[in-house]
């Protein structure tokens, strides 16, 4: 999905002195960032989007939904003239064996897209892919009644399920092209908006359903991300889980790792640790607690995939 281009700033309107306004109120969409916007009023996600769009504009790049794997040094290069604290943290990650990243578009779906990609890729590279797929599809199938139980209408989610299931099945069963899924095919699938966004939506619905079926576990942690006020389960799920392009936070990560039975590590690259260490937040939901976790890299307002390989 592409983020709509920012609309140009509008000229100030003169108010008639005596009469109250007769026009309709302007339609309130998401807060538009203009050259007059005070940076300090923006959320971290907005600051990230702004940085990213300025960077993309400057370099003439349209970032794909998910990118080719790239050495982590490319990320380091972006901070070399900026924040020494980030550079130190990136170097620390390198010493821990994380040499590559796979970047995602900063459209608010980056957490779900990163997890989805890493989750499918993991099955593709499993020692026994047939077994991994069989297990994965079984877990996924069991989520269908769960989504209906929390009140989603089947016709509104079955298409998204089908896209994800057939991608998993294609790891072992040849597709129409006569080939099974390989690295190129996987990247193509995740770069195609229809496939990629269908999978993102399905993961959002799974996350929401997990929160809705276990409200006691999540209710104390549901706060409005900008106002900080406590929220009802249903309202939180509708506005900050199911809605498109909404950032994920700790609650969503916990719920998604639980429903997909995944171990996930999130490396927090925030430039805060003066010793250059990076904190990992761990989510452990795999039946085998020692299963190697999927690794994500968090920078304020954004998630990418972190790849540990030689």
């Amino acid at each position: 999905m592409t983020t709509p281009p920012p609309s140009p700033p509008t000229a100030p309107r003169l108010r008639p002195a005596a009469l109250p306004e007769i026009e309709d109120e302007p339609v309130k969409g998401p807060e538009q960032v203009t050259e007059d916007t005070d940076i300090s009023t923006l959320t971290t996600a907005q600051v990230f989007d702004l940085n990213q769009s300025l960077l993309d504009e400057a370099t003439g790049v349209t970032r794909p939904l998910i990118d080719e794997i790239a050495p982590i040094s490319t990320l380091r290069a972006e901070y070399e003239n900026g924040s020494p604290a980030f550079v130190r943290q990136i170097d620390w990650l390198t010493t821990k064996g994380y040499h590559y990243i796979r970047r995602t578009k900063g459209d608010g779906d980056c957490f779900y897209r990163s997890v989805a990609f890493a989750y499918v890729e993991r099955m593709m590279h499993a020692l026994n892919p047939a077994q991994a797929v069989e297990k994965g599809v079984a877990t996924l199938k069991s989520t269908l009644p769960m989504l209906e139980n929390v009140g989603f209408q089947r016709l509104a989610f079955e298409d998204f399920y089908d896209v994800l299931e057939s991608l998993l099945l294609s790891i072992v069963t040849p597709q129409v092209t006569g080939k099974t899924l390989n690295a190129v095919g996987l990247l193509e699938a995740f770069q195609s908006p229809e496939v990629s966004n269908s999978i993102v939506v399905y993961l959002r619905l799974l996350t929401s359903a997990q929160i809705r079926i276990d409200p006691d576990a999540f209710a104390p942690f549901l706060f409005h991300p900008e106002l900080g006020e406590p929220m009802e389960v249903r309202e939180f799920c509708e506005h900050f889980v199911e809605a498109v392009n909404k950032e994920a936070d700790h609650v969503q990560m916990t719920a998604l790792s639980k429903v997909l039975q995944l171990n996930v590590n999130v490396a927090y690259l925030d430039g805060r640790n003066s010793n250059g260490l990076v904190d990992f937040v761990e989510f452990r939901s795999a039946p085998d607690a020692n299963e190697t976790p999927l690794a994500l890299l968090y920078r304020p307002g954004h998630y990418d995939i972190l790849v540990d390989s030689e």
Binding site: P20, I22, E23, D24, V27, L155, N197, E238, N245
Partner: protein
């Protein structure tokens, strides 16, 4: 088949099979992506008894992008433009989720009629009317339902008037006595209605707006 068309076809079929909701979806022309939604006004509100038509446009990237909806039937409500039918509702904008459907969105419009949000208005004038004098607002909304949506009107009150059957004073949510008062000063009736409506000359506001102020506006 294209995924958007497959989804829309399923939604239309589902709505056809569900008689209980009272929601209908019909084609406007040959395009399956330009539709008309129809729902009854909710009971216990000024919209009860009316039938409301909604123009529906399914965008290219549906269901990843929200459906576009606006009222075809004129509605007197703080979150609906009384002129254009444009709707202020979060799920039609940044709270859209692909798990929502045409039917569930129309049901949300129906609930919006039950619970106006004057603090996030689409029609500022109507919102002011609502906040200043809820009773008078409800009379006007009921009258609009009768005139535009085929509603029964307010029981026991004769709303019939001469000419085209519309009482312009009631349409604007004003008191006949106030309009008569300024018309008697020699101003054209239509202009008086327009100015009093814009000044929100209703309820307790009447005592706060001086006659001179009204006349000043009328002379502009």
């Amino acid at each position: 088949m294209d995924a958007r068309l497959r989804r829309v076809n399923k939604e239309i079929a589902d709505c056809k099979n569900d008689k209980a909701s009272g929601i209908k979806i019909e084609l406007i022309d040959e395009s399956p992506f330009h539709l008309k939604g129809i729902f009854p006004g909710p009971e216990g509100t000024p919209y009860a008894g009316g039938t409301f038509l909604v123009d529906i446009i399914i965008p290219e990237s549906y269901p990843f992008q929200p459906v576009k909806m606006k009222f075809i039937t004129k509605v007197y409500h703080p979150n609906v433009s009384s002129a254009s039918g444009a709707i202020c509702l979060d799920i039609l904008k940044d709270a859209w989720s692909p798990v929502l459907t045409l039917k569930s969105t129309l049901i949300s419009l129906q609930s919006l009629l039950c619970s106006p949000e004057p603090n996030d208005p689409q029609d500022a004038e109507v919102a002011k009317h609502f906040t200043t004098s809820k009773g008078s607002f409800e009379d006007t909304a009921t009258y609009w339902t009768q005139i535009y949506a085929g509603g029964p009107g307010k029981k026991g009150v004769s709303t019939a008037s001469s000419g085209d059957g519309k009482d312009e004073v009631a349409m604007a949510g004003l008191e006949k006595a106030h309009v008569d008062q300024f018309e008697a000063l020699g101003f054209q009736r239509g202009k008086v209605i327009d100015v009093l409506r814009r000044l929100n000359y209703r309820g307790k506001n009447v005592t706060q707006i001086s006659e001179d102020r009204v006349v000043e506006e009328l002379l502009k």
